[in-house]
Symmetry: C2
Subunit: 242 residues, 2 copies
DNA sequence: TCGAGCGTAGAACAGTGTTCGTCAAACGAA
DNA sequence: TTCGTTTGACGAACACTGTTCTACGCTCGA
């Protein structure tokens, strides 16, 4: 307040009770937890570690957060608040859904395996409802029945979440190996390719013959492929498709 | 052996070193772990709990299993060995893929959240390769390029795994609540419906208007819906589709 | 000025996966 | 048969985890 403009009297130890650490609050806790999860994954977000960043013990967090599950949910809410939504244009529904899916994919991916916490958690926060509302408007506007649009919404979230989660587990292994992602990918897919190619051709003709083709394509390509399968599959549910 | 036909002499304490408990072996450990995971989930499969079923401590398991991650992988191998595969008939590729997906879905579901352990784990066991080989033969036979078939295989596994995993988390909550699944579903979806319907109609017109339609359909219906989206999406990749 | 309430913490509880070191049984070679 | 050697079994312990209990101070309203 106005006291900040005055020099602190030297005979009074200033802010003794409040150390340099940021003050404890729900938002602050979520901030710190998001920073940790971005580098070390959910495994790294222990109550002790978060509390340590505030210079205190784990029990202090429970005044602002019910438990770890709620903390993870709050983190997801914060993340989903950062997703930008253009004006829905039903004429370009597929293109816009694709863009949203990619946006969510890349946004979630920044926070490692945090996506795993959203399984079976219907997000009811404002920031998450925003996205659902937008998708419903776009899909019903394009000619999908509300029930079909609701299911498609559900399946798309599941698919995006699952792929981010799977990718994060893969990346965790990369991190543990200590090599660069490129090196690791080359070694990993190389091994996989060699193993498949070495399978007995009489019992595994497909795997041994098509080992090369099957190990093609990185995470992004495969995500796009599956996403397009789902979106194309929606075509026949449009009103215009009878 | 033949000794079993003779009565054990009373002056010799029989099998003192080998108690009634089954002997420790990798297969036996996987057996016990699968029994536990079917009732209590992966959370219940602690090394101590498994060891306790053999009347020993957790360290004894590490002679047969590298760590818990490997144990979970072995459990998945065992489960996938139980999946039956008919003769692939490319003329009915979609129908056969659907049947396989449902079979995997229901098989995996018996073991709760064990499916979560298969994320990003390319299964290289014989029992898992069997399934991949079968799917590749079916899809390439139907007219999909090997690369496309490989990606589709990947996406289908991801989708099935993710839905089983999500469902298991939901069921865990049911179990914790202590009510019957029907009661829980009615209460859960009822709350969800009421909440969505109570949203301000000016900012959430879709959610509030279509709350009823969006909460329709149980887990099986939604799984089938998403599965058909993916399978229908494959149509345009067939050779015959140019 | 004085309670009341709330946020802050330290300590502790009941778990977890995993490792270490010891001990006994089994096996192969002399 | 006897002597290493190897292997599996296993108790104890380590470094963690999420969560709860309880006491302590500070701040705020009456």
């Amino acid at each position: 307040m106005a006291d900040d403009t005055l020099p602190t009297p030297p005979w009074r130890t200033p802010a003794k009770t409040r150390p340099v650490r940021p003050v404890l609050s729900q938002d602050g806790i979520v901030d710190v937890a998001l920073r940790i999860v971005a580098t070390d994954g959910v495994e790294g977000v222990s109550m002790r570690r978060v509390a340590q960043e505030f210079g205190t013990g784990p029990s202090s967090l429970y005044a602002h957060v019910a438990n770890k599950e709620e903390l993870l949910a709050l983190m997801l809410d914060r993340v989903s608040a950062g997703v930008e939504l253009p004006e829905p244009d039903p004429a370009r529904w597929k293109e816009q859904l694709r863009e949203l899916a990619f946006g969510l994919f890349h946004t979630l991916r920044r926070y490692n395996d945090l996506a795993g916490a959203s399984f079976a958690n219907v997000p009811t926060s404002h920031s998450a409802l925003r996205i659902s509302e937008w998708m419903m408007a776009l899909m019903t506007g394009a000619g999908l029945a509300p029930r079909t649009a609701g299911w498609a919404l559900d399946r798309l979230f599941l698919y995006i979440t699952a792929d981010v989660y799977e990718g994060s587990i893969y990346l965790t292994r990369v991190r543990r190996a200590g090599t660069t992602p490129d090196e690791f990918a080359k070694a990993y897919f190389g091994q996989l390719h060699d193993y498949m190619a070495s399978l007995p051709a009489d019992r595994f003709p497909m795997m041994s013959a098509h080992a090369g083709a099957m190990t093609e394509g990185d995470g992004d390509v495969r995500f796009a492929f599956g996403l397009d399968l789902i979106l194309d599959g929606l075509d026949r549910h449009l009103d215009s498709a009878g």
